[in-house]
Symmetry: C2
Subunit: 360 residues, 2 copies
């Protein structure tokens, strides 16, 4: 196959220049004679790589000094447990906003450890929008408020930051982190699996405010205690070194492209191109409320679902890969993360027009 | 640097042919147009890669059908918690054998959840040997017996398999797995971080007997429940896909080289070369009891410790990298895993002889 565009929801497309550099450095990193994969995580070469990755990530998101950045493992699923285990303290209840399948996973896990108050939910509307702040029923005694700022499966994104007074705000940003600037100071914890906008699967980044570190419940496994990782500079155990290296290359590329403000403009342009076409057509449609349409994950349906298989087959033949929607929602989904060029979105729209012309 | 030998204890040297293949496939795996890192873990390409890696691993270790192989994250540190969380059931005590720093880490973590009986310990002898079976004081009511079959820092390896009646036997084999055949049927759980003999850091492999799955304590995080991973074929969450791919290449290479019986012969030859030289010299020495000398991690000391820094500097200049001993034990350590060719060990011995000639 000569040229493809990869619309996978994650693991997902990476910048081509990152893969080229990784290829070129695979056997010998900077004259060390070693692959990154072969280096001790405590050696000076890798320590410098990790420090630079953290510094660039902090710069991209303008992370304040009173936040730690942790390079962990286990994805968002591990965070679903770590957040209650570390933040509950002597409280009995927590607030969760339910905007889709990923919110539900976080809620189900938290419910093992405490009483979960569903502050707002769009379940009755099949998760096609995110409840606005005035719909949120917050509990002043909650240990924290958790929400999923982009639902990767549902394609529902929240572009505003909730006001939660002095209760710590926790956000799962796995599928939109680094796609636009964020005011980190509004959050207690931000977490993200790497395998969408950051790098390869197996790396998870946590941004945590200092005062939330050090309060893990007594039965918390050491690997799930933020304090242990913070005190050891994310090297309590051997970190996923190659993933950190790739992430560092991605961060360097984002800086070179103008940082997150520039990425946001590029992501808006890509999203407008695709949603604009969906709205102009009666052959395709987006089920999501206009104000919550994700810029990263764009689910859409064909008017005639019996054409779904043909759409997937023909799009794949054209080099437009991994467009099948999640099995829980069906239809199609185009994930258009930072590393997807607008040419890829244009190629998808061109294909969709042609498919409609032939089969519409 | 033109040619080096990397003696890192982990992350560690990988087979050169694996790195070459990974380099060549980095941008386009088998004509898919995608890097492995960009593939959905649920797509047919990656599902086939993971299935083949598991099949080859099972073949190498002759794993019986009543054992699951799980590809997890979090290294041995995560297993230190997962083992008691999943195996304790209604028991109150567990047996641990204490042969070094890694045993101690496992013991300290288990002590969070239950009473740990130290069945045997070589702490009083500075962890320079492993207690033999007749020194083990086992408890018939223990939920399981845990030991560390190779201490990566201390360089103490046990070449025999304990008899523990019907109590499940759990072994941390992180630093010698795949270095020799093992009778898996004697074990309840075998676990190993990948970053020594398997592949890159961030992947952990667990071999677990079916009857030990499904008994996690109620406060176990889902990510730490063996049953959840087993029921989902290690795809409950996004697995460390690139690490699994690299591990799969390593397994293929081991099969091509004749499997674990052949590896054992090669590893014996390497170990005999290095220990033979240590024993023939009064300038260097090995602190470890002859019957427990690790074939994977060889700590040694210089008679005159004031020469340590010079030894490290000059060996590095000769392309012999990462020979510094762990900070907790000092001296030197040469890790000579599967991927270290005997030429590397010979180059080390040659250097040591020359260093002794000049400075002895």
């Amino acid at each position: 196959m000569t040229h493809i565009y990869n619309f996978s929801a994650g693991p997902a497309v990476l910048p081509k220049e990152v893969l080229i550099q990784a290829r070129d450095e695979m056997l010998d990193w900077h004259g060390s004679g070693m692959s990154i994969m072969e280096m001790s995580h405590r050696g000076k070469e890798f320590m410098a790589i990790a420090a630079e990755a953290e510094a660039d990530f902090r710069e991209l998101l303008a992370i304040p000094a009173n936040y730690k950045v942790l390079f962990l493992q286990g994805g968002a699923h591990a965070q679903f447990s770590m957040v209650p285990l570390n933040l509950l303290r002597d409280k009995k209840t927590v607030d969760y906003v339910d905007t889709g399948i990923w919110s539900r996973k976080a809620i189900d896990e938290a419910a093992k450890y405490c009483q979960v108050n569903i502050a707002a939910s769009s379940a009755a509307d099949h998760y096609t929008y995110a409840p606005t702040q005035d719909e949120w029923q917050l509990n002043k005694n909650a240990a924290y408020v958790h929400y999923t700022s982009n639902e990767t499966i549902g394609g529902v994104e929240m572009f505003w930051t909730p006001e939660v007074s002095d209760v710590p705000l926790v956000a799962d940003m796995s599928s939109h982190i680094l796609s636009r600037p964020i005011d980190v100071s509004k959050f207690g914890i931000i977490y993200a699996g790497a395998q969408k906008n950051i790098g390869p699967a197996g790396l998870t980044i946590v941004i945590i405010r200092d005062d939330l570190i050090g309060h893990a419940s007594s039965y918390t496994p050491s690997m799930f205690d933020y304090k242990i990782h913070a005190d050891n500079g994310s090297m309590y155990n051997t970190p996923p070194t190659y993933g950190i290296y790739i992430a560092g290359l991605v961060f360097k590329g984002l800086k070179a492209k103008g940082g997150l403000a520039a990425m946001e403009q590029a992501n808006i342009a890509k999203a407008e191109l695709l949603y604009g076409y969906l709205d102009s057509s009666d052959f395709y449609s987006s089920p999501i409320a206009v104000e919550n349409r994700s810029r990263m994950n764009v689910p859409f349906t064909l008017k005639d679902a019996s054409l779904d298989e043909l759409f997937l087959k023909e799009s794949h033949q054209q080099g437009l890969l991994q467009l099948k929607g999640h099995k829980l929602v069906g239809g199609m989904r185009a994930s258009i993360y930072n590393a997807m060029p607008i040419e890829g979105v244009q190629a998808l729209v061109d294909f969709m027009q042609e498919f409609k012309r032939v089969h519409g």
